[in-house]
Amino acid sequence: MPYVQHTAEDQQEMLRAIGVRRIEDLFESIPESIRLREPLGIARGRSEYEVMRDMAALGARNRPAGALTSFLGAGVYDGVIPSVVGAILSRSEFYTAYTPYQPEVSQGTLQTIFEFQTMVARLMGMDLANASMYDGATALAECSMLMTDGAKDRRVVVPAALHPRYRAVLETYAADVDLEIVPVPCAPDGRIDIAAMTAACQGGGVLVVQQPNFFGIVEDVVEIRRALDTVPAANRPELVACVEPVSLGMLVPPGAYGAAIAVGEGQSLGLPPMFGGPYVGLVACAKAHVRKIPGRLVGATVDVDGRRGYVLTLQTREQHIRREKATSNICTNQALLALAVTVYLSSLGESGFRELSHMCLVNAHRLATAIGRLPGYALRFPAPFFREFVVRCPRPARAIIEAAKAEGVVAGLAVAARFPGCFPDVDERDLLVAVTEKRTAAELDAFASLLGRLGGR
């Protein structure tokens, strides 16, 4: 076997040094009754060439949206990935190392995490950020749990237009523990019903605000903050903002509207869709909450010779030290994807990232305007949006999607069909359309005319 490098002679020499005759003898502590006598019911090992042919054949049975003109978003975006990201991530020095427990031989990983924490904190307009969580959904769920930890009655006020997959994970984390989820309906324009929200926010705990929300709508976070501040301080819930990072090139960041914690999904910052993962959960917070947030943290310090260096810090919050009192059970996180985000944000840089965000905003509105003019089509919600919007089609969204697929276009998400029962104000005609920086002007115009043609029948 290529990865076990022992020859028969090596094994004999080692058995002699150990003082046993056969390797089998080393398994004597395993009772006979549970020792396998037959090989596992799995095919025997095969060569690289044969395995690659198998895996490529499996790949060939996919029809990736990435190879088509895709308007499918809903939290996972078909964004550009600079070549430098793959060039850096494919270095053995980064992908074969593990958690930097021994700082002297891990300064590479530690400094990239320190720079990742700085970029995420600045993006979110917050004081600091952790080293990464599994994904955006678990980041939201764990932070909501932690911010309500120890409170008398643990409440999380959740807007109706929260991403249904994020809602499902939050509900799972809240289930069977004394954490109550208090739903808040949408206003007719698809934004949070601020009055209902304020009413629901009288019992402390946490208020979750997703910006933009699942329909791509930009919530009036300034108005939400204002309404929240009318609640007496003792009962006022902490604001947890759940953001789509690319929108932060255009929209006021969570730090600007008093969020205690900001979470998000980093997939749109240089990661391939890869059928749902690995992605990277972002967590940023105000300095006051640093000891509450989950996950690893890297801090700067100096060594015995006065040299600047980086170490894992505040590990006392973590499971390997605080065990059952840890803020989270997370050990292995999404470090390599955090590195990809770091390289991505450095490659775009301040001006590139803002241009990316601006570009998506402008292109999405160009498409929305064009669609809005098509007979039988209309924007489902009149509210402002960033780069995603719901289109009310003259025919079921599923039909539009099927027909568009034949022309190499992934038209978007049939929300009602994919998430039945999640959204009362959405029906089978509603199509969620996302516009990324990959979509050229020609593709936007062609898509609008395609919808026009498909609308007619």
Binding site: P39, E93, P100, L248, S347, L348
Partner: protein
């Protein structure tokens, strides 16, 4: 023609290392940033002059700079490459970090993960366009069911701890659904990994610690004493974190079942058992695997990993949906989970890119290769044990499984701590073993060689440990001040916690 190294005996020259490089530290990208520089160029687009305020409410438009660095592509590449070579890593030298199974990461797995046919798949695409990715998940699930002997595997968890958490939620859901909410106690051996108790608490249950016996294994009598009708489950790591197989596991599992509780297996140490013994056959009800340990997916500087769980019996109905089904025609599709199942714990279907690498690894090894992994992991650990047990204090006298734990008590008399030995090993070009874990071994040094190292590498590690043992007597100062050859030495962790400088403070020079 191996030339001997003759170090010239001359007075050391002053200023040999130029001041600019003496420091060896790398400024952050923020310090290198220059306003106006940029690496990546976006595709052409029209509408640069459309102000955001024309499309968004002005008060919601971000003002002021974000503070992202501004560098060119060549400078960016040099920055990350300069940082990368500061890392120890598996493709550099021996990395015997106990319990982490730092085995070789096959390069074919990376080639498969680069295929656009997988990278370009959106998680919400129609089933008919996702047949390839669905079959990858199906094939991996089948293989892991066979490796673990469990009836059904769920690929959702993004790491081992995430799998522990899901399992505890499923157990919690079971007892609530069957009218026993009071069964909320989970027994945790004192040798268990910190994620075990943390996962139990996150799932809303309580923990009680079970002291291990002198032999490092479960103390069956103490266990019996704890087993009452409040106990929901026990979390057993087998082989234990001291590297020994729980010989009485079948009996233990039967005892726990008799008490109406479930038996969970922390499968982090499966590298010792794969192809040799199966948790399902030992009576475990539910367990997790760590694909970034046993199945060679890369550790990535701390992640990503994957922690699929294997389930048997009554708990299967709590496995979160959606589940993959195959119809008569061999077509794959997502199907719903039964009512009352635990909800999803991941935004989509788990760390697919890692699951893809694990399936590639399973196919490359096959049934014969998988068995050879455990055989040689255990052989290598026992070889190190045999070679070190005279110079160092091995706590348990019996052959070990895939890792051997040394006790620091043996060298306390020289004033040397386990941390010092770890630091000194760096000067020998070797990544230190895990230290001070498991907690039941005083000043532990947990050495896991994995199956991938050559005999020569194991001998070099033995030579280094024996050399360090000699230094303890002849020149302890060289150990106490170690490491000497690394770019930074003994960083001040206390200062880091006090200063809490978690982001680069200065302004990005713009």
């Amino acid at each position: 023609m191996e030339p001997t190294v003759s170090t010239p005996v001359k007075a050391p020259l002053a200023g040999v290392v130029p001041a600019a490089r003496a420091n060896g530290t790398t400024p952050t990208l923020f310090e290198k940033s220059r306003a106006g520089r940029r690496a990546y160029r976006l595709p052409a687009w029209e509408g640069h002059d459309t102000r955001p305020e024309e499309l968004l409410p002005a008060h919601l438009v971000r003002q002021g700079s974000i503070g992202l660095p501004e560098v060119g592509e060549p400078q960016l590449v040099r920055h990350f490459i300069e940082l990368s070579v500061k890392n120890h890593h598996i493709d550099k030298a021996f990395y015997p970090l106990g319990s982490c199974t730092m085995k070789y990461n096959p390069k074919i797995n990376e080639d498969v993960a680069r295929l656009d046919a997988f990278r370009g798949m959106h998680p919400l695409q129609d089933d008919e366009d996702s047949q390839g990715v669905l079959e990858v998940l199906w094939q991996l699930r089948e293989a892991l069911q066979e490796v673990t002997g469990m009836e059904e595997v769920c690929l959702l968890p993004a790491a081992g701890a995430h799998g522990e958490y899901l399992a505890m939620k499923m157990i919690r859901r079971h007892f609530i659904a069957t009218g026993h909410p009071e069964r909320d106690l989970v027994i945790i051996p004192d040798s268990a990994h910190g994620t075990n108790p943390a996962s139990v608490r996150m799932a809303g249950m309580r923990t009680v610690q079970l002291a291990s016996g002198a032999d490092g294994l479960l103390d069956v009598e103490k266990l019996k004493a704890l087993l009452d009708d409040r106990v929901a489950a026990i979390m057993i790591t087998n082989p234990t974190t001291v590297g020994l197989f729980e010989a009485r596991i079948v009996e233990v599992n039967a005892l726990v079942h008799a008490a109406g509780a479930f038996v969970y297996m922390d499968g982090a140490n499966m590298n010792a058992l794969v192809g040799v013994a199966r948790p399902g056959d030992m009576g475990f009800d539910i367990m997790h695997l760590n694909l970034h340990k046993t199945f060679s997916t890369p550790h990535g500087g701390g992640g990503p990993g994957a922690g699929p769980i294997g389930v048997r019996g009554v708990l299967r109905r709590y496995i979160p949906g959606p589940r993959i089904e195959r119809d008569a025609g061999g077509r794959f599709c997502w199907g719903p989970a039964p009512d009352g199942a635990v909800g999803s714990i991941h935004s989509y279907w788990g760390n697919f890119g890692i699951l893809l690498r694990a399936l590639t690894y399973v196919k490359s090894n096959g049934s014969d290769g998988l068995r050879r992994i455990a055989e040689n992991a255990v052989l290598n650990a026992n070889y190190l044990r045999a070679k070190l047990r005279h110079a160092y204090d091995v706590k348990y006298e019996r052959p070990c499984m895939h890792e051997v734990v040394l006790r620091g008590t043996g060298f306390r008399k020289f004033g040397v701590k386990t941390l010092d030995v770890a630091k000194r090993l760096m000067d020998y070009g070797i990544h230190p073993p895990t230290i001070y874990f498991p907690l039941i071994v005083e000043d532990a040094l947990m050495i896991e060689p994995t199956e991938c190292e050559t005999l020569e590498t194991l001998d070099q590690f033995v030579d280094a440990m024996l050399e360090i043992r000699r230094e303890m007597e002849e020149n302890p100062e060289v150990i106490l001040q170690a490491p000497h050859t690394t770019i930074v030495r003994r960083l001040d962790e206390g200062l880091a916690a006090r200063n809490l400088e978690l982001t680069w403070g200065g302004e990005t020079r713009s």
